[in-house]
Amino acid sequence: MIIKVQQEDFEPMAEMAAYPVDAIAGAGGSVTFTGTVRDYSEAADILAMEIEHYPGMTERELERISAEAARRYDILDSLIVHRYGHLAPQDNIVMVAVWSRHRAAAFDACRFLIDLLKTSAPFWKKEVTLAGARWVTDCPGCRAGGREGHTHAPYTHYSHTQLK
């Protein structure tokens, strides 16, 4: 299991090529998810993205979900790289790679990891547009069903359907 939380850019295949060979001996395949900064949101063109994180808790959460994936699925190993700081459109934000003997487990585990990462790892995105900088929000009430009938965060409620 490898976890990297870093400011620097990364190259997904270089990360995978550098993976300790012993840990993934016998792999028949790998599944990789790479998430990138889009160049537009629903509201405006994106000039940049700022990612804040909670040092210490981030690594701990990513280790926790990686261990959980290893317990649930028949995989050989996994890798997560997540950036923070200042990113430009089309930059890589995150990669999740999973190696397994049989491909079904790699698909399942990779999806499990990115889904869980997005709901539990303490990262927050702020989009910088010509109209200003705005926190990307993921409002549970809105996610559950529209704009009425729930309390939602009073801070700028922006583009909540965009990054699901």
Partner: protein, 80 residues
């Protein structure tokens, strides 16, 4: 002492990333720490969609906080 951290939009609303609170007699919950933090900072946070962590782990607002704990409040995460 209880060490309280704020992140992202919550940090910006409060104006600082970190405050310290005196540990009250008899123990407190996360919910109560939030009230104490509101008193201390003068910023109302109860109406926000907040998540909390104690010592780097997600916890419910009913979770117990001990002397020396680090308690963090932040909006729903948006990484990935």
């Amino acid at each position: 002492m209880i060490y309280v951290k704020f992140f992202a939009s919550v940090r910006e609303r409060v104006g600082v990333g970190e405050i310290s609170l005196l540990m009250p007699e008899g123990g407190v919950t996360v919910e109560e720490v939030l009230s104490l933090a509101e008193d201390e900072t003068g910023v109302l946070l109860q109406d926000a969609h907040l998540l909390a962590a104690v010592n780097l782990q997600h916890v419910p607002f009913s979770g117990v906080v001990h002397d020396g704990d680090e308690v963090a409040f932040f909006p729903p995460v948006t990484g990935g």
